[in-house]
């Protein structure tokens, strides 16, 4: 699985939505599945999958799939 697929799977698992619904444009609080509690599950999942420890600001800024990729790149995760 490449990092893109890992990311997609992590979002899918954490939010309980099918992987194909995980697109760059998917944004926090715009679908009922991605509420504040799910966001916490998501952060835990991303930290596990990519073995990183996110800062408060990064957790708060992670408001879309596209944003998640940008932030994870700061932690040396690369997406092709």
């Amino acid at each position: 699985m490449d990092t893109q697929q890992q990311l997609q799977q992590a979002f899918s698992d954490a939010l309980g939505i099918p992987p194909e619904k995980v697109t760059d444009g998917l944004t926090y609080n715009t679908i009922p599945e991605w509420d504040s509690t799910a966001h916490m599950v998501l952060i835990a999942e991303l930290e596990n999958v990519f073995d990183v420890m996110l800062d408060t600001d990064d957790i708060i800024d992670m408001s879309s799939v596209a944003q998640a990729k940008l932030i994870l790149q700061k932690y040396d995760v690369t997406f092709v």
Partner: protein, 469 residues
Amino acid sequence: MSYAELAIPFIKAHRQSERVALMDDTDSLTYRELSEAVERRAQNWQQIVTLHRPLVMMLIDNSITSVVDYLTALSLDYVVLLLNPACSLVTREQYSQALTPNAVIGDGTVTLLHNEPLPTDARLSLLLSTSGSTGAGKCVALSQHNLMANCDAILAYLPIVAEDITLATLPLSYSYGLSVLHTHLKAGAAICFTRHSVFDKAFWELVKNRPVTSLAGVPSFYEMLLRLRFTRMALPALRYFTQAGGKLAEAHVTGLAEYAKQTDKAFYVMYGQTEATARMAYLAPEKVLEKPQSIGQPIAGGEFKLVDGLASECTEGELYYRGDNVMLGYVASVSDLQAFEPSEWLATGDLAVCDEEGDYTIIGRNKRMIKLAGERINLDVVEQLYLKELAVLNLTSPACVIGTDDKIIAVYAGFLADGSRQNVLAALVKSLALPKRNLQLNVIDALPLLDNGKIDYAQLNKRLAARED
């Protein structure tokens, strides 16, 4: 009646105060303005509702106008059924049918439904749902005396002062959230609302800039704060924070207590139930590091006892509580409103132990109850809903519901095709108004039964727990 003399509960003493009482992301009201807003609204409503002590269904959200609604209704001596606006239309309809309210109130407006007087016990003031936004469970009936007694007992131990600004993140339809409102109004302090969640930057800007001096939350709230590295934040204005609404994991309690100690704040671990208006006990902040799982001792005017079978002088047993904040009783239908015979002792359904210093610790639960995001869920009620949904879907094998905190497990003893499985889950998400992550559907061969033919829930819990490992 002269409206300037309307007795508004909690805020009477602050009638002329120019201190801020309520604020949200855009507006604020001083105590004087709040009193005047309540008086104006009372005058308006009396034109529409002429009935004495009508039963009103009130949808209360965390907003300035909802607080004005609430205080207006209490001032006019209405009997108020308080509901979370997030509850489903089905739930509202069930309450409407069961309790036949005279009017509906929401967003500053009263809508008259019927003028038939409903006989109600003179002490009755407030009805709180025991099921949060999940289904139309029975209600807890409270008197104004209950509200005042609990408010005063909380003010006796929490360091609330008029200069405080608290951030009300808990729903006001929930007894814990309501107790935060009551106590701050009585103390003449400010209550701040926001539409932002802890995962929004604006939330933390608010906390830093208001600045917020206290926070209150259920375990899931603190789990989120810890995930956000709360214990590394510099929040000099924050003086104390409280936790109730279920047991927070010991490691989290310890982490928060250490943060509080290092930053000169106080962390209050508390215990309560809607049946006791809100609060029954709290742990002295200086004991939290030493006893992170304890709920401490009863609030002022309250008393605990442990009951084990017939023995009532024991150190382990079901926890009973007595005090002026114990509810009038339960209400399931309109006929229950007429008269109450409050019991002196409230059986909490929790099993507890008491140590030699008089501090109590909850060790388990006696009833089929779980907590979901801090709100109590009766598994029997959920099971009834589940069985109804199955019947609609024409699924006829034996089924039941078990659960742990934050997880409802629907069990089906029979064959379930993938399609049906999805249908069942979708139906449950809708009828319970719960996110899918809190639901699980397990298929097994047969339900374990007790000798009397009833479902052996303990056995089922064990079996499904073993399956997860």
